[in-house]
Amino acid sequence: MNYPVWDVPFLGGGLVVAIIAIIHILISHLAIGGGAFLFVAEFWAKKQSNGNLIREWLHRYTKYFLIYTTIFGAITGVGIWFSIQLANPEATSLLIHQFVFVWATEWVMFLGELTVLYLYFYGWGKNSQNMQILLAGAYFVIAWFSLFLINGILTFMLTPGGWSLTDTDIAAGFFNPGFLPSLFIRTLVMFILGGIFGIIVATRVKENGEFRKKIIYFCAKWVIPAAIIIPFLLLWFWTTLPDNAVTLVKGGTVGVAGGKLEAITRYFWLAIISGGLILISVIVAVIRPQAISTGGAIAIFLIAQFGIMGGEFFREMSRKPFVIYDTLYSNGLWKKNTADENYMKSSYLEKARWDTPVEPLSLHHGETIFRLQCVGCHTRDGYRSINTRTADWSGEFGYRWLSTMHETGVMPPFQGSDEDRAALSAYLISAHDKTTTAREILDSARKEETKDTLSVPAVPAENNGGAK
């Protein structure tokens, strides 16, 4: 509430970030893996009899690679940054202030990556072979360190480890529990992508059965071992996950629309299965090198894209209900404030800076709360639609549910007075019930509370689905 809210209809800010991010992650990993690939391939070509053929293929590889990564990689990378500052300025600000020089260092890597890649590509044919090998190697090392750096920040958001608002020790935050497993996994993913990209380019080389076979074997060696090792690293990563996330993946809670199968579980499976599909399709490519068309190779690349989509969504959702784990909730609430009962219960709009004046318990009141606390993740009728999730809600159920939603493990605590809660509930159900007013909800709820001294009963998670 410190900042204004970026309200994207239908998609929602979060999905905008996600869409840009999954494209970027694919390309950026490819950008690094491709470097290693070029480095090794240069050596390989040096040893081979038909080295020139191979090097011609490598040149082609580099050309596509350069265009693809420098255009889309660089700009989608900036795109993530742009979109997160819109979707969640508060968290972005914290990350930037904590890690500004990590990012600055990463930027040095970008600069190096870019320049070295240009020297490698434009020096083609004139540079000595050793110079090319040196450049390719340097490119890989530099690029990999950019991963090393950003990986620290990414994992920090999920597992801040020893870091806390009171003890902002950058090293503790950077080398957090999730750092190593995720670093290794990403490195292997890079190799896989480099190999697949190689297969795509291999299908473009002029018809030459033996040669293409040779290249595809070479590329497969980049994919298959990595694809086999990753599951084991995943187990390691699993141990660093917060308990809440583990419960979620195992289907511990019932989402209102999603069923027992939380989105996070679905994405987890997407990642796992895509890994398997990649492995199989590459094995097919090995068995029948001449059968793989460019379309088929691109199909494999798409599988990788879906796998990355699954993996990254899974990682993002493991953070629920936080943006920065155990620190900042997805609705802009700082965890340190949750202990303070009357901070949580006091009127929300008094604390908000950016809202327009509202008439209490009006629909506008509810909408304002919705914009400030919900649109970070939800849309009204699009992605993570509120309308479908509340389709069978009654105003009172909403009123009670909001006060206990954090027990589902996926939602942050609601902050605000009973009036705010009633107003929001009235707004949430307004899609299918335009008659119930916040006032009525509040009054009947108050009656309830006076009737049974048990006050608001905590709705057990299992009942959220059907309850009326």
């Binding site: 086999i228 599951p231 499976w269 796992i272 299965i273 398997g276 492995l279 199989i280 094995i283």
Partner: protein, 156 residues
Amino acid sequence: MAENENKSRRNFLGILGALGLGWIGALVYPIFRYLSPQKVPDPFGEDGLALVENINPADVARPGMGKNGGYGGRGLIVFRNKSNKLKAFDSKCTHAGCNVEFQGDKIYCNCHGGTYDLNGKNIAGPPPKPLTELGVEEKDGALYVFRMVNDKAEGA
């Protein structure tokens, strides 16, 4: 030489194929979970009692009266023996799982002629084990059964 390479490659591929299958296990696992049955709820509530269906106290008012009924989705028989004591057994025959029948002096299974005495002990025919006995009590106009403690067949 080349053949050797070929062979080793084939073995390599074999191993990979196996691992690929392992991966695909991930694809099959959801289906397996989907098909595997959910846990059957315990018929006895937290107070240890289960309501007896289709039998009301009047049906077993006098000695020698008995009837087949159900509790928590399973079948049972309730009857009043000579010594005017209410007895209840899970009606699942221990031989082939048919529902047994109370025949006044004995409990009889029509499928294969398994016979039990009124204490549920298997006295003739194929049944290997006695019937599972249940505790039974009458509470405000309805019959309830509960698990017999020190009952071997418990949980069967």
